[in-house]
């Protein structure tokens, strides 16, 4: 058998086996919207850990983190820093959101906005925004999958066919298994990913360099500016690093997929314990950096975009096909499992908030579950279509996802702590933030002066608008109190 057949067969068996395992695990669960979207609010610490970790650490994180370490050196460390701060913020934020969610029976982030600010229209708008922001994020996972399948196929096949098949299989899987299915699939995914990064981040550097110290000595000699941040105010400078870490840490849990995980928790203490222990999972990212630095020395000279595949390429060149197969299989699951959570998060917002609350469609339990399932497939096809047509401009789209989704954070926080904020203030704030992002985006002013992150500027505009509007027109009607 050719190495491509061996490697691709392993990928196919692992992905197929994971889907079968997860389907088997949920076979007795009757699906109503609460089961399908937030797993009946029943998850304890273990499943929640898997689900949150599954959504945060995606294929793009792994390939991108190694690629950034390869191409930009220390700037990549921001990925490690923002997650850590994100969990500290999450320790306080997530239990508070979950308690409101339980008391008020919320299903989506659109619900949260509609309930807290007493405006169905705001819920519709937030639901629609979430849906649109998710499309590029799903699309990114497909690019990650393409890189892995191209390498596992030893460049002999058109990986787009494999990506399309794998992704549609995953969409059908979400169609039938819902959030519980995603959590079970995460069990397999996390185990394999852990094995893969230990191999890539421990075995690989030690085989080629003997020790991490020796590896960093070599990196420092070959690229003297690589292990620290540049002081001059520009892209990837110290100021860029600090502002980007601030923005991404604040927006860490703003996505609709995170809301589904938060609402699936049994109670607030489960979320607190998770926030305490999740930073440990970040060790995985540290190992990926090691793999990226190792690749920089072993296969030098790759361009920034191409460097995303650097460490997988090292594995392909120096290890047998079955190792390549298992690494690519772990990576494929790391693309597909989070994508399944994203599909579910986007679809539930569209159906519950836009179709249901906005147009009065699919409001019964059975109709809503069915409509959410159909929306999962529609979102999958939309993302796949977008990816097949525009696969080159994705990094811009990712930027837009993060900068855009973070604009929902003032609403999530003010909705918990400041009763005088009304729907108009939040809506105006989101609009102001998004306009700021769009203006800078289309003026091509990124990097901005001094390398300040544009999303953080937009977030500042957002908060100023919310506070100003609230001080001038404070909300008069009472917010529903949360018991407990």
């Amino acid at each position: 058998m050719s190495p491509a057949v061996v490697a691709l067969s392993i990928v196919g068996l692992v992905v197929g086996g994971t889907i079968a395992f997860a389907l088997f695990s949920v076979r007795r669960i009757p699906m109503d919207p609460h089961q399908y979207i937030v797993a009946g609010r029943s998850f304890g610490a273990f499943f929640l850990w898997l689900l949150l970790a599954g959504e945060v650490y995606t294929a793009f994180t792994f390939l991108g983190a190694a690629g950034w370490a390869y191409s930009y050196g220390a700037a990549a460390f921001y990925i490690l820093a923002y997650g850590t701060i994100g969990y500290v913020i999450g320790y306080f934020l997530l239990p508070a959101i979950s308690e409101v969610g339980h008391a008020r029976g919320l299903l989506t982030s659109g619900d949260f906005f509609a309930d807290r600010f007493g405006s169905r229209r705001l819920g519709v708008a937030v639901g629609a925004l979430q849906f649109f922001f998710l499309i590029p994020y799903v699309t990114l996972q497909l690019t990650g999958l393409q890189i892995l399948l191209t390498i596992a196929g030893y460049d002999a096949y058109d990986a787009r066919v494999g990506v399309s098949i794998g992704f549609l299989l995953m969409a059908l899987f979400v169609f039938s298994a819902g959030l519980r299915g995603t959590a079970w699939a995460s069990v397999v995914k996390d185990g394999l990913v852990l094995a893969a990064v230990i191999f890539a981040g421990v075995a690989l550097p030690l085989k080629f360099f003997g020790s991490y110290g020796a590896m960093f000595d070599q990196v420092n000699r070959a690229h003297p500016t690589w292990l620290t941040l540049v002081a001059t105010p520009t892209n990837h400078s110290v100021i860029w690093f600090v502002t980007t870490v601030a923005l991404t840490a604040i927006g860490f849990f703003a996505g609709p997929q995170n809301m589904a995980a938060i609402l699936s928790a049994r109670d607030g203490n489960v979320l607190r314990k998770n926030a305490i222990w999740m930073p440990v999972y970040q060790v995985v990212l540290l190992l990926v950096f090691f793999a990226g630095f190792a690749a920089l020395l072993i296969v030098p000279g790759m361009k920034p975009g191409a460097a995303d595949q650097s460490f997988v390429l090292v594995v392909q060149r120096y290890y047998p096909a079955w190792v390549v197969g298992f690494i690519a299989a772990a990576g494929s699951l790391a693309a597909l499992v989070p994508a399944s959570g994203l599909l579910l998060g986007g679809a539930s917002n569209l159906v519950k908030n836009v179709l249901g609350d906005g147009f009065g469609l699919a409001t019964g339990d059975r109709a809503r579950t069915l409509a959410t399932r159909i929306a999962v497939l529609a979102l999958a096809l939309l993302a796949l279509g977008l990816w097949l047509v525009y696969s080159k401009t994705l990094v811009d789209l990712l930027l837009f996802y993060y900068n855009g989704i973070t604009q929902l954070m003032p609403g999530l926080i003010f909705g918990l702590v400041w009763k005088r904020v009304g729907a108009g203030a939040i809506g105006a704030g989101i609009a102001g933030g998004l306009l700021t992002v769009l203006t800078i985006f289309y003026e091509h002013a990124d990097p901005t002066p001094w390398g300040i992150n544009i999303g953080l500027l937009a977030l500042a505009v957002n908060v100023i608008v919310v506070v100003t509007v609230t001080l001038i027109w404070p909300r008069k009607d009472a917010v529903a109190e949360v018991a407990g």
Partner: protein, 67 residues
Amino acid sequence: MTKSARALRLVLACVVPAMLTIGIPFANRVEPRIFGLPFLLAWIVLGMILAPVSLSLIYRLEGRRHT
């Protein structure tokens, strides 16, 4: 919670975020190396290790809540 417990909680909550944002300009150097890692990376890893420590101290301070 008492007033001093609240203050302690605030300090504990701010240590890691401060290390990884305003602390970065001061940690931006290669030497001294810690276990072979460049100092900047070791500093960020230290923050990553301290996060569970500070959060579990806060958890103890708050006690188990009724939810």
